[in-house]
């Protein structure tokens, strides 16, 4: 089967799981934001199942509806069927180390499939999940109802953050289409004095980090900042092109560590791990990212020239 077909199948499965969440939320009469939350998951399910057949404009409108729902606090965590500590402790004793098999299997399968077959990394996640769910059910003897209620529980725990990476990617495309990058690069290069290596190197590194923080993506920043700052203020002064450009990219990654715009790295773990403080990951990373950015400037200055 081709990558595209499998991807489409996996999108449909994700969409159906979202419909399942919508259904569960709808049945839960205690949820104060019942209708809004149901709509949220149903709209997402629709985009995942039918996305390839819907015109972009319609999906855009649906996204705005989602925005109105979340802005007016109409999307809330409903009642879920959480496991009791006694049940888990008892099963942990019975299963022993076998309980790790699914976790290890997913990781191992994703790596093997991506490395040794022609399937892409994202398709590999889907295939690995499909194989592992069968093994998991065999190991635990859990029934279909447990699968449904645990899917519901996990999806609701991740909640709206699940779609943040996608949404920010869309914003990035929009920024590029509206010409945001060019405006920034022009502005920065206007007030850097020429002829000073340290200033040039600092501007290249800090520019990469700042621009990455805004765009949430170091790749988007790299071409813009390299053309706008790297070439005139670093390369033209005799800097080693390969060393400086490589350092500039990781200087950008220091910015990635500092921005909520890089949602899949900084916001998604918050949701996945259920961290109370939304900015906890960024805060922890700042203590490494900021000194490391200064190290980048030093490395570019000493190794690049």
């Amino acid at each position: 089967m081709s990558n595209e077909l499998l991807l489409e199948i996996f999108y449909v499965v994700v969409g159906l799981l979202m419909y399942l969440v919508a259904f569960n939320v709808f049945r839960c009469k205690e949820n104060q934001a019942r209708i809004g939350t149901t709509l949220f998951w149903a709209i997402l399910g629709t985009i995942f199942v039918f996305g390839s057949y819907l015109p972009g404009t319609i999906v855009g409108i649906l996204l705005l509806v989602i925005g109105v729902l979340t802005a007016t606090k109409q999307v809330k965590h409903g009642k879920v069927n959480a496991p009791t500590a006694e049940f888990s402790a008892e099963k942990a004793k019975a299963l022993g180390n076998k309980v790790f098999i699914p976790s290890v299997l997913i990781a191992g399968l994703v790596i093997c499939i991506a490395k040794f077959t022609n399937f892409s990394g994202t398709v590999a996640i889907g295939i690995a999940a499909a194989i592992t769910i069968v093994i998991t059910l065999f190991l635990t003897k859990a029934d279909a109802k447990t699968v449904a209620s645990d899917s519901d529980r996990m999806f609701q725990a991740v909640g709206v953050t699940a779609i943040l990476p996608q949404l920010l990617a869309s914003l990035g495309t929009l920024f590029t289409a509206a010409g945001v990058g060019d405006v920034i690069a022009n502005n920065i290069s206007n007030f850097i004095p020429e002829g000073n290596i340290l200033i040039g190197v600092s501007a290249y590194c800090i520019g990469m980090a700042l621009f990455t923080m805004i765009m949430g993506n170091a790749f988007a920043a790299f071409s813009v900042i390299t053309v706008g700052i790297g070439v005139p203020f670093v390369f033209m002064q005799g800097g080693n092109v390969i060393v400086c450009a490589t350092l500039a990219l990781t200087a950008g990654y220091c910015g990635t560590l500092l921005t909520p715009m890089a949602a899949n790295f900084n916001m998604l773990p918050v949701a996945l791990l259920n961290i109370k403080n939304k900015n906890a990951v960024i805060k922890y990373q700042a203590y490494v990212a900021i000194p490391l950015l200064l190290v980048h400037i030093a490395l570019m200055y000493f190794l690049g020239f």
Binding site: G51, A71, V99, I106, L164, L174, V180, I242, L257, L303
Partner: protein, 226 residues
């Protein structure tokens, strides 16, 4: 003028307004100020969102993790880590970062959904819980953030050592377009110092976090003894 959209994002994130609404408003405002029509804006947002659905495929792993947790994943991880003498949450995070760096330098991707959530984070919590008993929420959050950060650090700063990494290809592609001749191997070599320094920095930070947690519980115990 287009930069007002960025201002909306910055202000929205700082004021902790609803993230989804902030992102959408910033998009619409930027598009309008950049001279796009509302239909163009909706179309750009919608089609990118649809083509980027692959970013959400990690959701397929969640049901499995959910079932494993129900069947005692965390309890067992705690049990196992207790048997390893001298393993602390911080040391585990540093060790994971090191593994993450080696793996990505060989082109193998691990990640938050596949590794940190099901394995590393429960083990790190277990390491701390075996020393201090039941953990308070603040300590739990600190350990979670440390585990998540270890993945990002390892991923970001070692990925360019792998010559077929998209970052390396981006550097090569961009520079060639600008008229420079470059080969991927020299880019990969130039990426090594940062990978080493990042690991040292993370080691220091994680060790300090271990000390901070130890102090927190020492103080609690003293209070309890009074």
């Amino acid at each position: 003028m287009q930069l007002i959209g960025i201002l909306v994002i910055v202000v929205g994130f700082i004021m902790k307004l609803d993230t989804i609404a902030v992102v959408l408003s910033a998009g619409v405002i930027t598009g309008l100020l950049g001279g796009m029509s509302i239909v163009e804006i909706l179309n750009t947002l919608g089609s990118t969102f649809t083509t980027q659905r692959s970013m959400a495929l990690f959701l397929l792993i969640l049901p499995i993790i959910g079932i494993c947790e129900r069947y005692g994943l965390k309890e067992r991880a705690t049990h196992l880590i207790q048997k390893i003498k001298g393993m602390s949450a911080g040391r585990l995070a540093t060790l994971y970062m090191f593994i993450r760096e080696i793996a990505i330098a060989a082109g193998v991707k691990l990640g938050h959904a596949e590794f940190v959530r099901p394995l590393i984070e429960p083990m790190a919590q277990g390491a701390a819980a075996s020393k201090y008993g039941k953990l308070d929420e603040k300590t739990e959050d600190d350990i979670k953030a440390m585990a998540a950060a270890a993945d990002n650090f390892g991923n970001f700063f070692a990925q360019n050592i792998f010559i077929a990494n998209s970052g390396v290809l981006l550097v090569v592609g961009t520079l060639e377009e600008l008229g420079y001749t470059v080969d991927a191997l020299s880019v990969a070599n130039a990426a090594i110092p940062v990978a080493v320094i990042a690991l040292i920095f993370a080691f220091i930070q994680n060790t300090l976090m271990d000390k901070k947690i130890a102090k927190r519980y020492e103080a609690l115990q003293k209070e309890g003894a009074k």
